[in-house]
């Protein structure tokens, strides 16, 4: 963006909001918002403590295992739904239902089914991410140029070849979009899981800090979480741009 002929650096708005935050904090307008600089120094303090690193590891583990399953199940299911009218008719109502369902309300049920441990947290994370991945993969397959499929058939492609060499690649721009949104939803899922199921990881830290009005600590953890999901989302957006050259020309 340009203002008065000056090229603004990337993420200028973040800098602006950061300055505003610092000012509000320095004037001590509300205990809810300590100065940003104080939050960062708190982050430096707690960032190397065992408690924090353990929480980071627990959260990271649940997050990556959960999204891993969301991706390896979600993408093939979505592609199959796009390919097969029958599978689509069978699964689409469920996918749409779970996409809009308040999954948080389901967490107690998951606890009954899968216990109070890591397993339930991972499943919660996967459930937050998977539906949008399924729907996007399906949408990607549904817009494939029919003649690409006829071409593969005319050269005798096996179903496996058609799946991995045509459907997957043709749907890849949409799939990556779905995975990106799925990751962002999974961040929510993992924290909700950690808050509701067993108080571990970042969820436990949030619980601890907010209950004791340790706002600097609360914000510090939130900023770490934001940075992680922002980095992942940007990385996937970068991958999306890499396939954009053919997204418009399928």
């Amino acid at each position: 963006m340009k203002i008065f002929g000056y090229q603004l650096p990337a993420m200028s708005s973040l800098i602006l909001w950061g300055i505003l935050w610092e000012l509000v904090g320095q004037f001590e307008l509300t205990f809810f918002l300590p100065p940003l600089s104080a939050i960062f120094s708190t982050l430096m303090e707690i960032g190397t403590t065992k408690v924090f690193l353990k929480a980071l590891a627990e959260t990271g583990y649940a997050f990556f295992v959960g999204t891993f399953f969301a991706i390896v199940i979600g993408i093939p299911v979505g592609i199959l739904m796009g390919k097969s009218r029958l599978i689509d008719e069978l699964l689409l109502p469920w996918v749409n239902m779970f996409l809009s369902a308040p999954l948080t309300a389901l967490v107690p049920v998951l606890m009954v089914l899968f216990g109070f441990g890591m397993k339930s947290i991972i499943i919660t994370t996967a459930l937050f991410a998977i539906w949008i991945i399924v729907l996007n993969s399906r949408a990607g397959v549904m817009q494939i140029n029919r003649s690409l499929i006829e071409m593969a058939n005319s050269f005798g492609a096996s179903p496996k070849d058609a799946f991995f060499k045509i459907y997957f690649w043709a749907a890849l721009p949409e799939i990556l979009g779905g995975v990106r949104i799925g990751f962002i939803r999974a961040v929510k899922g993992v924290i909700i899981g950690q808050l509701l199921i067993s108080i571990v990881g970042f969820g436990a830290l949030f619980e601890l800090y907010s209950a004791n009005f340790l706002m600097k600590h609360f914000w510090a953890v939130l900023i770490v979480l934001f940075s992680i999901s922002f980095t992942i989302a940007e990385f996937l957006a970068h991958l999306e741009r890499k396939v954009a050259y053919y997204a418009a020309r399928r």
Binding site: N145, S147, L148, E150, M151, A152, N153, S154, F155, G156, A157, S158, D161, K165, I166, W169, L172, V243, Y245, Y246, R249, R250
Partner: protein, 258 residues
Amino acid sequence: MSNNTNDIDNAVTVSNVYKNYGDVEALRDLSLDFPRGQLTSLLGPSGCGKTTLLKIIAGLLPADSGEITVNSQPVTGPGPDRAFVFQDFALLPWATVMRNVAFGLELRGVNQSEREAIAEKYIGDVGLKGFENSYPHELSGGMRQRVGLARALSVDAQVLLMDEPFSAVDEQTRRKFQEDLLNLVKNENKTFIFVTHSIEEAVYVSDQVAILLPRPSRVSEIIRPEGFRHKDATSIRRDSEYLDIVDRIWASLRTYVE
């Protein structure tokens, strides 16, 4: 001109083929023979089922009844004896020219070095040398169809099925394609089945023109433009027999054009 094809070896035969789309009768009792080593055009107004017939021969669509044979073997699906050239090129947009041309061989399980050597030869043959690592979106429409053609040639099928292959390229490129196609028919010793809606194009490139009439589709006439086949590519368009046949076909088709 003659309609006598009895003494000719047919690469492809279509006998009594019926095809309905729901209530719409697309093909009714259609029979047609395709002599080996020659180019046969399927010509007709839009909606006459010429692409349907081509896809049935390709094995991409099933016929409701009737029989199609390629080299006397009944067609039950796509096979290595046929290769298809698509109207919209059907190239993989995420793959280079090299991979696209070799893709037919890749699907048939030919190993990479072997298929790339074959693809390289045909990339050269269609005049795309130097573009091996380009992507389809970097090429013009004409060049993209050359990729599609090279892909079909590289699997070395005896029968080439071409579905309005030149309709999505500009007029000048199209003329060049038509001249190249004449040489291809002469040199490749393959059987070509060529769908077009252009009368001039059909007469220019074909050994045999099958005129299809619509709703339901049937072969109304088979014309064999023979008098000018030996002439060189550039003088055919001024040949009087060529012009007469074009006029005659237009006279029989014009009543079917809305």
